[in-house]
């Protein structure tokens, strides 16, 4: 039930992002969701793409430091309090959210949020037991 995310180390400088999008564009990779975490001198670009293996390969060939990380895609009711209902369950079970960001596409009536949890497997069990929908990777890549 996990989704594979690609993270790329980037220096905080003009043109850094453009180099990444250039490599992906030439390899015909479609970016499905992204988030950029930044500090004063470096950043981490996190991507969900339609073809993880190819994206990783072309980025590494392009000289980037790349890592694959397991994240979790959760359907969130698109209404006030929707995200809160998920976080409340996680908080009750002391699951830590390292980071999260929203997916561009919707799944039916629901929004999709990408989470990085510690610990991941436990978080997935808790979400499912509490009636939330966790989307498998194949479904997310092709949304």
């Amino acid at each position: 039930m996990k989704v594979e995310q690609i993270s790329i180390f980037m220096e905080n400088r003009p043109g850094a992002l453009e180099q990444v999008t250039g490599v992906l564009s030439r390899a015909n990779i479609n970016i499905r969701a992204l988030s950029l975490a930044d500090t004063s001198d470096f950043g981490i670009l996190r991507l969900i793409v339609n073809d993880v293996a190819t994206a990783k390969k072309v980025l590494q060939e392009g000289g980037f430091t790349v890592k694959r990380t397991d994240v979790v895609a959760v359907e969130v009711p698109d209404r006030p309090g929707g995200l809160h209902s998920i976080l409340a369950v996680l908080a009750r079970h002391a699951v830590n959210v390292e980071y999260m960001y929203a997916f561009i596409e919707r799944s039916g009536e629901n929004a999709i949020i990408i989470f990085r949890f510690t610990p991941t497997d436990e978080a997935i069990d808790i979400l499912i037991k509490n009636g939330f929908t966790v989307l498998p990777g194949e479904k997310v890549y092709s949304l």
Partner: protein, 433 residues
């Protein structure tokens, strides 16, 4: 003013006779007490008896920093530990630091040499000395302290750091003499001015400054900002510490080398060939009175030039010009000696780090800055900011803990550190001193 006129103004021929007598004695002694010297003399095919004139010194092999490291920690001590009363050491990880020892008589010698330095600066027992050299393993603090006490001056053992407190003490205690690195003198001048203190109207009269390279331009700036006479002092812990040579206030042209304790040679750093006095080259020192840690032909790696003309102060000692550079890659950052290889060994001790790094040295205002750029490989990359930041902090802390120097760590993308002919340029020194 001379502290020990009998020895400081010896006629050259008497001085040289004394040097030869002491040299022969020390060569004989190290040959029989230090395994390293016996082996290296034997390899060179020289026996102590072959040293019959001062020129015969060049028959002996050089001693290098690597020899000191190879014999870490006490391998070059020439006396049993029971005779050693003090140790000092350079910074470094195990096996990279160099350790020096002193007998009671060595401390006496060193104190006298430092007392000579103070006297050469016109300091007397009526002066108050603000000693802002670091106390501890570094030789600066205790060296200056013992010398000033020996002279009978009143010492304020400030050590380094705590700049605001230093300004308060400079105002309240009214020291007339300050000892610190030249860059710290400027830091004090600027910090004091920021605190609203008129740094030109303190009681300070003279500064005894050293432990890092500085220029005539910096000297003028210090003299102007603190309204003092700034004098240059030279030394290195391996040879004894500060007090190997000192600029006199009468001549103010080069530093007198205390030749009754040290023999100086100038060599071509590439070939090792001895150069005639007056030519620029690497200074090589032989200690001829030290007991615990004698050094034979030690390559200082400092580039300078010997001045042979007599000085108006009356000292018969040769003088050396201000050190103009190094014949190796040692960096001096805020008075701390650092080799790029030492930083590399700290980095390599951290799991996953690859040896792709670069050191950027700069001077911001009056303070040296060190930035360590480290390429992020996949083995250390994490998709969490906090993991990368804690890696930066860890590198910074390890460098501080092992080498005593504060560094800013910057993670950079792979292959962004310039490589020349496949080899990275490790150090970029942007300082204009």
């Amino acid at each position: 003013m001379m502290y020990n006129e009998e020895f400081e103004a010896l006629p050259r021929e008497v001085l040289e006779a004394l040097q030869l007598k002491r040299l022969r004695h020390i060569v004989e002694r190290v040959y029989h007490t230090v395994g390293f010297y016996r082996r290296s003399f034997d390899e060179a095919g020289v026996k102590p008896d072959d040293i019959r004139t001062l020129d015969d010194l060049r028959k002996l092999p050089f001693t290098t920093k690597n020899d000191l490291r190879d014999n870490y920690p006490f391998g070059l001590f020439a006396v049993p530990m029971s005779s050693v009363v003090r140790m000092h050491a350079s910074s470094g990880t195990t096996g990279q630091s160099t350790v020096v020892g002193y007998t009671r008589r060595d401390i006496e010698t060193w104190s006298e040499l430092m007392a000579r330095c103070f006297a050469a600066a016109g300091v007397t027992r009526n002066d108050i000395v603000h000693n802002a050299y670091g106390y501890g393993l570094f030789t600066g603090g205790l060296g200056a302290h013992y010398g000033a006490e020996k002279l009978g001056a009143s010492v304020i053992p400030m050590s380094g750091g705590n700049t605001k407190r230093q300004i308060v003490i400079l105002q309240d205690f009214g020291p007339t003499v300050i000892c610190c690195t030249p860059s710290y003198a400027l830091t004090l001048a600027e910090a004091g001015t920021e605190m609203g203190v008129d740094m030109r109207s303190l009681k300070l009269r003279v500064g005894i400054l050293g432990a890092e390279p500085w220029s005539e331009r910096m000297k003028l700036e210090i003299e102007n900002k603190l309204n003092i006479t700034a004098l240059n002092i030279y030394g290195l812990s391996e040879v004894i510490g500060p007090g190997v040579s000192m600029e006199c206030i009468e001549g103010r042209d080069g530093m007198h080398i205390f030749e009754d304790h040290f023999i100086v040679e100038t060599i071509d750093p590439e070939t090792g060939e001895v150069l005639p006095p007056g030519e620029q080259g690497e200074l090589v020192f032989t200690t001829i009175t030290k007991e615990a840690f004698p050094l034979i032909r030690y390559r200082s790696r400092d580039i300078s030039r010997i001045i042979t003309t007599p000085c108006r102060c009356g000292r018969s000692f040769l003088r050396m010009e201000r050190v103009s550079g190094r014949s190796d890659d040692m960096l001096i950052i805020r008075g701390v000696n650092v080799f790029p290889s030492q930083i590399e060994s700290v980095l390599m001790a951290i799991e996953g780090l690859e040896p792709h790094y670069q050191l950027i040295v700069d001077r911001v205002g009056t303070l040296d800055t060190l930035e360590i750029r480290v390429e992020v490989s996949e083995s250390i990359f994490s998709d969490e900011i906090k993991a990368l930041q804690s890696l930066e902090k860890r590198i910074s802390k390890d460098v501080k803990d092992y080498l005593g120097v504060t560094a800013q760590v910057k993670l950079v993308e792979p292959k962004t550190i310039q490589r020349f002919e496949g080899k990275a340029q490790r150090v970029i020194d942007k300082r204009q001193i």
